[in-house]
Structures are given as C-alpha cells and as structure tokens.
Symmetry: D2
Subunit: 351 residues, 4 copies
Amino acid sequence: MTNKTPVGILGATGTVGQRFIQLLEGHPWFEIEWLAASDRSAGKPYVEAAKWNLSTLLPPRIASIPVSPAKPDGRAPKLIFAALDSAAAKEIEPAFAAAGHAVVSNSSAFRMTEDVPLVIPEVNGDHTELIKSQKWYREKGGFMVTNPNCSAIGLVLALAPLDRRFGVDKVFVATMQAVSGAGYPGVPSLDILGNVIPYVAGEEPKMEAESRKLLGSLKGSSVVPADLTLSAHCNRVPVEDGHTESVSLKLHTPATAEEIVAAWREFRCLPQKLKLPTAPEQPVIYDSSPDRPQPRLDRDRGKGMAAVVGRLRPCSIFDWKFTVLSHNTIRGAAGAAVLNGELLRAQGYLR
Amino acid sequence: MTNKTPVGILGATGTVGQRFIQLLEGHPWFEIEWLAASDRSAGKPYVEAAKWNLSTLLPPRIASIPVSPAKPDGRAPKLIFAALDSAAAKEIEPAFAAAGHAVVSNSSAFRMTEDVPLVIPEVNGDHTELIKSQKWYREKGGFMVTNPNCSAIGLVLALAPLDRRFGVDKVFVATMQAVSGAGYPGVPSLDILGNVIPYVAGEEPKMEAESRKLLGSLKGSSVVPADLTLSAHCNRVPVEDGHTESVSLKLHTPATAEEIVAAWREFRCLPQKLKLPTAPEQPVIYDSSPDRPQPRLDRDRGKGMAAVVGRLRPCSIFDWKFTVLSHNTIRGAAGAAVLNGELLRAQGYLR
Amino acid sequence: MTNKTPVGILGATGTVGQRFIQLLEGHPWFEIEWLAASDRSAGKPYVEAAKWNLSTLLPPRIASIPVSPAKPDGRAPKLIFAALDSAAAKEIEPAFAAAGHAVVSNSSAFRMTEDVPLVIPEVNGDHTELIKSQKWYREKGGFMVTNPNCSAIGLVLALAPLDRRFGVDKVFVATMQAVSGAGYPGVPSLDILGNVIPYVAGEEPKMEAESRKLLGSLKGSSVVPADLTLSAHCNRVPVEDGHTESVSLKLHTPATAEEIVAAWREFRCLPQKLKLPTAPEQPVIYDSSPDRPQPRLDRDRGKGMAAVVGRLRPCSIFDWKFTVLSHNTIRGAAGAAVLNGELLRAQGYLR
Amino acid sequence: MTNKTPVGILGATGTVGQRFIQLLEGHPWFEIEWLAASDRSAGKPYVEAAKWNLSTLLPPRIASIPVSPAKPDGRAPKLIFAALDSAAAKEIEPAFAAAGHAVVSNSSAFRMTEDVPLVIPEVNGDHTELIKSQKWYREKGGFMVTNPNCSAIGLVLALAPLDRRFGVDKVFVATMQAVSGAGYPGVPSLDILGNVIPYVAGEEPKMEAESRKLLGSLKGSSVVPADLTLSAHCNRVPVEDGHTESVSLKLHTPATAEEIVAAWREFRCLPQKLKLPTAPEQPVIYDSSPDRPQPRLDRDRGKGMAAVVGRLRPCSIFDWKFTVLSHNTIRGAAGAAVLNGELLRAQGYLR
C-alpha cells in the first residue's frame, strides 16, 4: 500500500460512485481512503449510506468507511474522483480544486469550460496541458479534469483513429442508451419496459459540442475545436448497461473498408504506451460478425473499457455506416475517470 | 352480410395472419370465409392449427373454420389477403393471381416487381393503375398488390406530406424495431432481453428501395422512383409492438417548423376522401411533447393506423430531425393490407 | 348528463388517478366534475399537473379542469374516488368523510378499520351495511368504503366461488406482481429489468388479513373474519400490468376438478344482478389452455375486470393448484373502486 | 497439461454446451479435446457450427476444433460431459456408456433410472456408489451420472442442510425461471417480453421426484427416496439467467430462525473437503437484506455455484418461508456437471 496514491470519491453512493469503488478495488496505483456524499448520508458507514446495486460484492473494507460531507475538510486526499450530478458539481468541484485537490470529474458541469481539459487518454491525452492555465493550479496546485458524456465517449473512440488518418467531416449518430446512464432511481420502470423513449435531456448538444472539443487541437492554452459537424439523435432503450450507436460518417479523404478496419485495429496510443492499468489492450475492437456489437454480449470487452465496432458498410449518403458500443458506466463514466486519474499520475500532475 | 365481400387469408396462422383475423372481425365491408396455411395445419380447425397470440379473443366463428391448403382450390374467394413469408409467397401468390384472385400481399417477394403496385393508399393510391399491366389481370382478372415493409411504412407516411410541399432530398433513418416484426417464434428471447441487435436481415435495402418506389410517380405503365436518397440503419429492440425511427431530413425547398407541422396536420388524402373504413381520420399525428412518440403509449393511435411524429428540431447537417412511430403489425402489415383491399374495392378492382 | 352522479377524484394525477379518469370517461352513471391532487399540482389545469401515462388519450374535457387542493372545499361533489398513498389517505380521507362525502378509497389506510367496509361487490357486497355504523354517516351522511390490495383482489375473486360451495381452509399463494402496482415513478428500471425482486413492502400481511375480512361474514355491525389461513409470498417481476399468482388450496369439503371449474364458471352475483356498468359479465373466467393465464394476453379480459384462472391440477400437499391473474390497476385498483361506487349508488347510499 | 484429464462434450453447440466450454477454459483438472453435436454441425470447425451466445469470448483453441458426430468413435476421451436434449440423450448417452465412457449428463432422460446416480456433490456425493451396479461399468468400465433439473438444484441445496439437522417434511415452492433454462432458440421473445408464462413443460413432476431422490439414502444398490412431500408451481419470467424460488417449509423438528441460518452458513461438505476446483467456498449463502436474493445481483455469487437464500420469515401455515436463487445454466446445468466430473475424478472413477 505504501506506493499507492490515496484517493477520495465525491458522490460515492450513486450509480457511478459505486462503479468507482468496484473499479478501484485492488487497483495497483490507487487506494480509496475517503468517501463523501450528500449531507443525508454523511456520518453513516458507507454500507448504510448506499444501496449497493452491483453484482460484485461491496468490498468489506469500504463498507465500514464513514461517509464524509462533500466539503474540503483537510482530510480528503489530493486526488478526488467526482461522481456528482451537474448541479452539485457546479458548487462542490471548484471548492475542492481551490483547496488544492486534483478533481477528476465525471460531471458535465465544467466539460466545456475553456481551461478545463475534457480528456479521453487515447484521443487527446495532451490536453491535460490546459491544467497549467487553471488559476487553482497556479495558486494551490489544485485543478480539474473531466471526461466526456457516456454517449460521446464510445463514438469519439471510434472516430479518433479515422480522424487521424482520413479526417472526419460529418457524422450522423442515433443512440440507443442504457438505463444505467440515468443513474438511480433514474428511469421509472413504467416508462421503459417494452418501450423506447426518444429523448435524453440535454444529451444531443453535449454529444455535438464534446466531440468537437475532444477531437480538437491544443493551441497554446486553449483547444481549437475540430472542424466536424455532428448531428445526434438520442434514445433510451430497455437495456441495463451499454450504449449502442448507429453511425453514418463522411471523411475528408476517401478510405476503403480495409483501411478503416486497419485504422481501428492498429489504434494504440498514450495509455497503452504508458501502460496505464485501466487501459484496454485494444481500445477499439472491430467485430466482423453481421449482427454485432450487442450490449449484452460485448459491453464487457476489454473489461468494459473497449469500444466495440461492427457492421461497417457503405452509406448511400455519406461514405460509411457502422455500429459502435461501449459500456456506459465503465468506459462512459467511472472507468473513464479512473483512466484519466492514471494518466495524470503518469504525467506527473499528482506530485 | 349480403353486401360484404368475402375474403380469404393465406398464411392465416402466423403473427400477421392473426392480425388480419383481428382486424377483419366486424369489418363493415369484408367477411372472412376461407383460411389457408401450410400443409402441417391444413385440415385442422383454425383454433387447433394456430397458437393464438393476441390479447383479444379468437372470434368463435373463425375458430371452427377448417384450414385449407395454400392452393387455389376453386373455393377460395376472389379477394385474398396474403401473410406468407417471402419464400412461400414467391411460389404461392402468383398461382392465386393466375387463378383470377386479387392477391393483397404483405410479403416482400414482389414489392419491387415492375408491374406490381407497392401502395400506401394515403401516399400513392393511384399506383394501383399498374394492375392493368399485369398479365394475370388481362387473362383472368387476377392481380397482385403489395404494401411496404413495416419499417418503411411509418417513415414514408411522415415523408409524403413533406415531399408534396417541399420535396424530400435526403433522409437518414435509424430504426428501433419491435420483435413482432420478425413473426413467431421469431426473435429468441435470449437474443433480445436487455439487449439491442443492430441488424435486421435485408431490411436496410428494402427501406431504401421501397421508399423511392412509394414516393415515385406513375408514368404510363411503370413507376419512376422518387429522386431521393435514403440511408437506413436497422436495429431490433426489446419492444413487443411499434417501430420507432430517428430521422434526419434534407428538403429541396426550405421550410419552417410551423410549415412542416402544418403539412403533417393537414395531410388528408384518398383513403380519407373515400372514407375507407380502416383509414385513420388523421394519418400523421404530430405530438409536441418533448419525449414522444413512444411505442407503449402511441402505437395504438388512430387504431394503430396513424404514424405519430414528434421531436421536430433543427439538424446540424441536414434541415430537420424528428422521430416517427408506427404500429408494425397493424399499419406496418395487416392493417396496411386491409386498407389496400378497401382501396381496391372503392376503385372497382374487385368486381 | 342530467341523470349522472357527479364525482371527484382525490390523487387524480397518479397512476391510479389516471386509471380513474380513463375508466370514468363515457361512464353511464358518473361524470367527473372535480379533481384534486397535492399542493404542488393545485391550481394548474390537469394536463399540466399530470404526466399522462396511459395509451388512451387524456380526454380533452378533463385536460382543462383545474386541479383543486386535496381539501373539502364545498365544491367537491358528494362522491369522491380516492387514489391517495396510505400516508396522505390517513389525513385526507377522514376529513372528506367528516364533511359529508362518500369516500370510495383505494388506499390501505382504513381497510382493516372495524366499521369501514372492505368490499369486492361480487364477494361481499352486503358488507356496505357497515356504513351505517360510521359516525360520519350518522352525523353528516359521509362515509368511507374501501377496496382491497391489488394482489388480494384477483385471489379472493377466485377463492370466493369455492368458499361458498366447498369452504376454503388453507391457501398458499406466490405472486408475480407488475410494476404499475408500485405507482409512478415507483420501481426504478435498474431494479427490475431482467430481474425479480422477491419483496413488496407490506404486501404479504395485507393479503392475509384482507382475504379473511373479505370472505368474512357480517354479524351485526362488524365482520367476523373467515376462518382460513393464508400464506403469501410476494414478488415483483418485469411486467407492466397484471398480477399473476400461483395458488395451492385446501378445501373443507372435497371437490372434483369439474366441480371447481363449474363453481368458477357459474359464479354470478350482486353486481351482475344489479347490472352495474363496470361489472364483467363473467367475474371469474376459467381458461383450460395449458399455459394460461398470462398477463400480456389475459389482463384485459372482461375489460380488465375479470379474474382469469387456469392450470387447475392436483396438489401433492393440499387439494388443488391453480394460477390466477387480474389486472392490477383496473380490477385491482381504479376499476374496483368504480365498481364499489356503482354498488353504493345501486344500494342507495349516494342519495 | 500432462496431468489434465481429457474431456469431450456432447451437444457442444447449445446453451449448456457453450457453458461447458466457458467453465472448462483454464480448468485445473480437465482439458477439452473433443466436441460433438448433431449431424448438421459435424465436420465444421466449432466456431462455424455454434452461434456463440455468451459474454466471454469463445476461446480460440476451441474455435478451431472440428465438431464430431455424436457417436462413440474411438477418439472421444473417457470423460464425456453431455448437454443433449432428453430425446437425443435417450439414444446417445447409453451408447457412450456402453462403449466405456464416463458420461456426466445434464439431461433428464436417465435421472430417475434406478442405478443411475442423480448427484449434487454437496448433498449426496456418496450416491455415485450406484455406478458399480451399472452393467456398463461391469462390462467395459463405462457409466452414467446425472445432475438434477435446474429448478431442483438450488432448492435442494437450500433444503439439504435443514434436512440433515431438522428433517424436511413438506415443501411448497413457486419458481420464477429464467429463459436460458429453455435453451436456444428456446422461448420466443413475443411470449415473454413483459409477460409471465405460468407453465414449464414437465418441470413440476421433475422437481418433486428429483428432490426426493437427491435427499434420499443409499441402501445397498439403490436409493430410498426421502420421505418428504413437495408441491411445485413452475413459472417462466423475463429474466436471462437465474431461477428465483419462493419456498414454504415444514420441518420434522422445530427450529428457530437462528438455527436455520446457522445450518445454511455452516453447511460444508464433500466437495469443499475434497477441494473440488468448481466447488464454491460456501455452497449456501444467506443474505439478510430484506429484498434479496435477486437474479441480476446474486446469480454470480460463488462464481455462479452458490445457492443464495434470503427473506427467512415465519409461515402462517408451515414453519418457515424463504426465497432461494441459483444460476440455472451454471449451478443448474454445466457447472453442476463439471462438479460431478470433479467428484468422480476425486473418487477414483475416472481411472
């Protein structure tokens, strides 16, 4: 334990907070030492504060940790993973950054803020450079880093290798999103059993803006958004975990199917080079079966950290069509943040 | 009963065959007199041959009708509704047309055949004119008319009013299709519970080709396909009935949201003028709620014969985005064929 | 409309409140004139206060009715259907009864109160006699009548004909209850998709106590509970509507399968004699198919007011085993209360 | 690999056959060397013959194994795991036993045959002694051992510790069974989405007879069935994996809740003593949460080999009520057979 970086979790009792605990159990670099949640939970041991909702057991050591209030209290470790809803994040996360903490946030509150890096380590790990522009960093060494929305992350993982080689011009995407993306209690069962809800509040603009920032380029102390146009249709379907997305794609430079599949298969990047523990060996997996990827069968590939792509075929309007799937609470939330935390440690930001 | 046209059903025991029976029970124009199915069922009373799978009761008069073999036997009435799978349809339907029957088919086998009308009465009721080119019609008065695929029909109903007023240029569509579209036993439950299958065999090319024929123009004895490009992504979701579709649309002539909604709301056409009994009062219903249409709540509007449209909003690539829903085994299959049968009677083809 | 009894609905915006509105639309005896809900909704037109969640449309006349606060305000009609949760019912319902209203309640708050009738019109319609013992009735003519829990009502409908002929001694029952029984938002989708929850809070003791009161006998001004023992196992399953129950049964007098089925089929009682509009022609339907009843196929039989029984077979411990199904928000809630209201009007309690 | 026992799988392409492959991958004692399936599959490499349907990947070594016909061919190893349907098993399994193979079968065909052991190693591992009575064994050393039905196995695991300490007299059980229990394609999705099927063909008599044999005593060369009466109600619910069962129990000797929970918690037996690799550390896990066990959360406990029990509470008719859950294709099928295979090796039957 001596070499491990102690970490805290803000919003530890919710769906994403629980995933943080699951993913950090036995983590080679990080060790949970501090858990915080809303005032209602504060003071209770974690096992009483949270309704544990995962199919792996709550680790006993975690069960007995008392839940702290969501305030910088001097006892929280430097590195804080934050799984707060957006409204809470707006108030609480800056307070932690100002108090010198490294806040690795899953919330949407600051993703589009100019000096806050929005990062997928495989895609734009160099954007963490923005940290140095944050006044918190200059003052007390604290800072904030964010990961994208759960519906953007799988898509951008699939687009990035193509963007590097051929340039992505235009993207249509229709999502079929799992209910765990809405947290707990989240979507009422009466709304979704045997049903589709063709609406996820706020999701479509997020997908469009975040994709442009993620694929954008660092110029001095800001990010120039990528010059791509994205049109998103977001739907909720009766699936527990795993967002499936139908994509049509226009490239700047024409590419054959073989070249596209090669771009995906050969995509290896910073997290793989740095051997970040949570990085999947292959970040984008192409499955050539005619009816894949499927959430039930493919969401756990690469321990839930891979984007699985399939059904590459010509598009009668753009160039190509395909389907992409990723696990929305692992690659799309807690796992994304843990990987960002690992990147920050490897880059030396946690010293 | 004296004025009613007697009808027969080919493929009466399957999912769509059962819907035919349900929709024709108490029909003011038609009366079921003959039922046929595969040789395995032939000879049995219907109640024993079919595993009735609808939530309304099997009408007792139908239950006792003996199932005939699927061959023109001299006793079958002139008007035949056909709910055969494509392979069976290829052999059986022409035999009936050649024997002088009016075959109103739900199968895909002859939809794209040049002299076979592919008809949605609200959209292209005049295409029945093609009947006169069929050699069966010239020889013995028999003919064949088809309705489109269950995923094309809702979409084309939503496109037609816009095409008339503004011209439809390009369409992206991603479907989320119900399991009843695959018939019975159809999709295994292990494949779809909590899952999405991003593939429906043969569906995407059908949607593209059928839409162009449906929105095309009758020129002499053939149909000039509409000059629109459509790119379809077809997915299966765990919904019993009702296909939901995310659509992006480019028009030839720009239109405002108000103009588009007006085009949908004011869309009244041949079946409404002819007062066809199965025609919905309003074929395209626009629902302005932010999260509609939804299959569980909206599939039965217009007795399952309306296309319900919602979420009209600007598209960052094309002009507009919206969601359309229709009941796949009523408007998308049996109801579509019954409406075609009604049109044919009103147009005098059944005399 | 002149002859119709005006009615009000307490808790009009919830799942059961919406069913009341649906079932009372076009009702031959009753006319909705007043709707009340929590303070949060009060003052708004109904269409804005409620998230309408049924597949039939909200009747336009109802949409514009302003929602009143849930207090006796002098404008509420005599007859009030109440769809409040138990905690709210405890305070609000007695206030209405005390103010002279006939409160027909679906809540559990007063079901076991000694002078409050717990009524299924087919089973114990004579228990309304208890009304005369209520001090509210003696003072201002107000009173309260309740219907049982949604899981008790189908079971007791199936037991009553057997109890009359053979005497019911012991009953094991395991329920598989639909999510709509928990109201809205009710069961989170993450808890129930692809899952079973072997627990419904408070349900098992309710089933046991209510069944004994329902099958009990009126003695003077109280009910002597039936001398039967019932052991209930209550489970939640991913079904929208319709509670399915597996039952094992011990009778006082032995009976053959034919005698039991005859008792169910011949069961006709007060509501059928009084021609109550909501009474199903046949309150208990026996289906001899090997795999019925099923919620998706059978919940709407008798317009959702019948109990459907099937799979009668010998029990190796008790005498017989069977399955019973009833629609939990129609026969098990709003429809039950409407039928109670009709009974009260036929019995003259509403004058 | 030198010390590993080579094994073959009969019926390798089906749902249970795939679980065998999954569970035997990396197994410390066994190594798959031979796969057989129906004639339709024979000759193809496994990857082409099977539609792999699990969320772990098909092991590459297995993918390329050519599928053999389901006949003893001289190349099949001694130990054969059989996942055949009952009709096929009746013909094929005896042919393998007669040819000298140790057939460890999951089928129901021979479970109740007098000299065929029906075994749960934790419960009646000594019943393998029956092998010596089999004429196959005496002639060529071949024999047959079976595991119980997927709905009996979880129940009997929960009953066995109580039977040993207090004696089980009577048992009511209502099951809510997962769709994977019906194999693939198995239950059509139209039959089970949002639905319950109150019928599983042949299941209720199997549960009753098998439980008595499993808890019975070996007397000479036959098993005296346990003197308990069991009444089963079997239902299918929309759950992928995991059978949940509501149980009421009468004991011969009264026991307190504490004594019952202690019996479950302290239950350790032959497979744990023999350190069989697939044996769960704790075969029966008691969970004291009010709403557990649940299939989604608990089916994988003990790597899918534990029976999870919860909700112990008094029964108003018998002594106690509880809920038991087990993974139907692991503990209830392939895992059960693998554990039987391990037991046979430990007992020396495979030499």
